[in-house]
């Protein structure tokens, strides 16, 4: 446990007023978007420089104090939750963009830069930061790197990993490492940068990141297609992917759409009611591309894969179509959803989804199951809504059984129990469904290399 003397020592390492211990701050900075764990940090520290982060980590090593990194706290796996008297290291004051290079198309950021801030900065420079997701307005670059954030454009642009050209990290041992220095090609031994991406702060803290930017997409155009069944999704994806460079291929079920339309503020894409919907997006770079998209649509209709469809003709229509997909998570939140974020290889998605659907339907016929996700990359968000006649506790207790079925099925399909949300504490006990005992042993040994005293976000990913 941390005593007042230690907290006073911590205060000497940062600027005055940059250590907080009031109840409100502890409650706010001690949790992320998950709500399973009661926040209970000992203090919140706000470093303003790399040197201050390093001093805090060295102090923590000296006194064996556990540290939890805190970015935008939009995580969905409790990786940024401090529930056991840890000191939270919050990067809110390390939120500046430090450098930009037009030729390299690179931006050097402090870890507290908000995703949207980077996206806007790129736009000012007539460039594009392509990692995007619903929480981009709050999530921070440091957290994105820690979880290797994905989102809605992965099919074209990949995960956050693809955009990290260089990293400065303070390891758990308190050492500053400058990894890869913004280079495109660098074959000088193990690429340690890759280890820190997706490590959820368990090896060290990102204190600076050089992110790559891309040219701006031109004339982005979305189509929403209505499909007769889930099996029609894959041939449709395949047909479009063979001729167009898609920037997104998302899907959602009719139940998701019903919830969205019930809000009353988003127009229906078209009149037909279909069991499944696909949202695809591409750059209509030329007349030829636009024509190809329409030909592909007609082809899919002829094949019986698509029942109806709509194509955006303006910025506004593009936005409205995207809301059908992007607003699902927020819209279903009041229904107390049990959420799972899983992936399999794209080719196995249809069989996998059917199997899970059948399991849930057979065992809990009163559960409403909503599917949506980034189908173009095999990432499914399974959502089960709480029936009105069940209490919250009873519902989540039953969902624990669902968890087991879901993860056993994931394992049989060689899939991932966490496609993009990370492991944190919520998936920790299930890690073995996706990673072997030998792999987990290697991970623990690697953690010991960078964090010999086990002070960096302990209890996350594994115990």
């Amino acid at each position: 446990m941390i005593d007042a003397v230690l907290i006073d020592e911590l205060k000497t390492l940062v600027e005055p007023g940059k250590v907080l211990t009031d109840a409100d701050s502890l409650n706010t900075y001690g949790k992320d978007w998950t709500r399973q764990f009661a926040p209970a940090p000992a203090a919140i520290v706000f470093p303003k420089s790399i040197e201050e982060v390093q001093a805090v980590v060295r102090w923590a090593n000296q006194h064996k104090v556990a540290l939890v990194p805190s970015g935008g706290r939009t995580g969905l796996s409790a990786a940024a939750v401090a529930a056991h008297g840890e000191v939270v290291v919050a990067f809110d004051y390390m939120n500046r963009i430090l450098a930009f290079d037009e030729v390299d198309r690179s931006v050097t950021c402090q870890p507290g830069v908000v995703t949207e801030q980077l996206q806007n900065f790129a736009e000012e420079k007539r460039l594009y930061y392509p990692v995007d997701f619903a929480s981009a307005g709050s999530s921070q670059i440091g957290g994105n790197i820690g979880t290797n954030a994905g989102g809605i454009k992965v099919i074209r642009y990949g995960m956050t990993r693809n955009w990290v050209a260089g990293l400065k990290v303070i390891t758990g041992a308190g050492e500053l490492l400058e990894l890869n220095k913004g280079l495109i090609k660098n074959a000088t031994g193990y690429d340690l940068r890759q280890l820190f991406i997706g490590a959820e702060g368990t090896l060290g803290f990102v204190v600076e990141a050089t992110m790559r930017l891309e040219r701006q997409p031109k004339n982005l155009t979305a189509m929403v297609l209505g499909l007769p069944d889930f099996d029609a999704l894959m041939p449709t994806l395949h047909a479009f992917q063979n001729r167009l460079d898609l920037t997104a291929f998302e899907f959602f079920s009719d139940r998701c759409l019903d919830k969205i339309l019930a809000r009353g503020d988003i127009p229906a894409p078209f009149e037909s009611h279909c069991p499944f919907y696909a949202l695809l997006e591409f750059e209509a770079l030329s007349e030829e591309v636009a024509n190809a998209a329409l030909e592909l649509f007609e082809h899919c209709v002829e094949q019986g894969w698509v029942l109806d469809g709509v194509i955006s003709q303006s910025e506004q229509q593009l936005k409205n179509l995207w809301r059908l997909r992007e607003d699902i998570s927020e819209t279903i939140a009041p229904f107390t959803p049990y959420k799972n974020d899983i992936s399999v290889t794209v080719s196995r998605v249809p069989a996998f989804l059917k199997e899970l659907d059948a399991i849930v339907a057979a065992n809990y016929p009163d559960f409403e199951v909503l599917w949506y996700g980034h189908i173009g990359d095999g990432n499914l968000h399974l959502n089960i809504l709480k029936p009105d006649n069940l209490s919250r506790d009873e519902f989540f207790a039953r969902c624990a059984t669902v968890n087991k079925w879901v993860f056993e099925t994931v394992e049989r399909y060689n899939g991932s129990i966490s496609a993009e949300h990370g492991v944190g504490m919520t998936k920790r006990d299930y890690l073995g469904y996706s990673r072997s005992a030998a792999e987990i042993a290697c991970m623990k040994a690697i953690k010991a290399v960078f964090d010999p005293n086990g002070i960096m976000n302990p209890g996350k990913i594994f115990v």
Copy 2:
């Protein structure tokens, strides 16, 4: 040292005849394309399955025998050289393509599959494996992964790393790890797959790889541009990159072109003689794109950045233009070049190149310096030709001084002493110019995790 008893034991682990100890085999399989180290392996073993590789690694652990992996042996850093009585593990008989999935656009390969074999397989499936380089006809996938091979299309498609969806490896401890299983999204802890990519066989051996494929490029079109000086390269790259998705942006100096044209079998791109040349490539997907390329060319001419140029109008012309760049390495080989493969961030290339040019010119005015490389990704191949009046030994002795200057300059520019060839033994003593002591210590500790007895390609990357 390995005795006959041990070799006999080794023979029981693989099929009859799959352990060789004759002088010819030892000489052939003991070296790569570097020639600095005399090959001296104890034996060559040819496993035919994952189980056999695992048995060999376990045997090596038991008897503390060092193993060296051998693929196409086209490496340029002596990472696949067995100069100290090691047993070479050659993957020549693990050369089959095991599976293909059209929806996932993935191919599962044994490590001995030759790069060109994968490229051709993809083409048969009307898809594309985009990693390409001069030695693609001999290099193997396992070796490509071990060195994170780059080549001529990195600017658009990235390195080998980008195309590895899953890996099976036998670690130095003899354990089989199945890493990432072909998933696109997988946020379940440290991505160990990334560690094995570029590890030059020092952590374990790749025994199976699932590689991703891409849609075939359409109507590839190349331009060769003549430039008045090196400074004109960057604004030219910048102008083209802002409007076109380039698939390549290469450069070479007039001295390289002179050597190519002296062969007599490749036509000159145009009549003008220019100090520098750029070769750029793009997909002419539409009339609009082709017109944009011509407009950009005119713009660059107006700005004085480009003096002359040519655009390919056919497959054959495309090939001929590429030969101007691709055949340089082979063409200058008889001139006993001292070669260096270095990189800096793209924006720093002009200053870096000028500085190195000046250093060499001031100290060795009789040295002929040839520059070429993948300028779009900051990767420069520095080549110095042996003057006729110097002996081979004397020349290489003087080049050792050059090495020091080059690497000191690389360090000052935050660059890489090995952009794409790897470290192996040739760059090992210079690793500190690109990686800090703390990083190297971490790398060694990570090696100890996967290879506790230090039997996997010892002495490569670091001692």
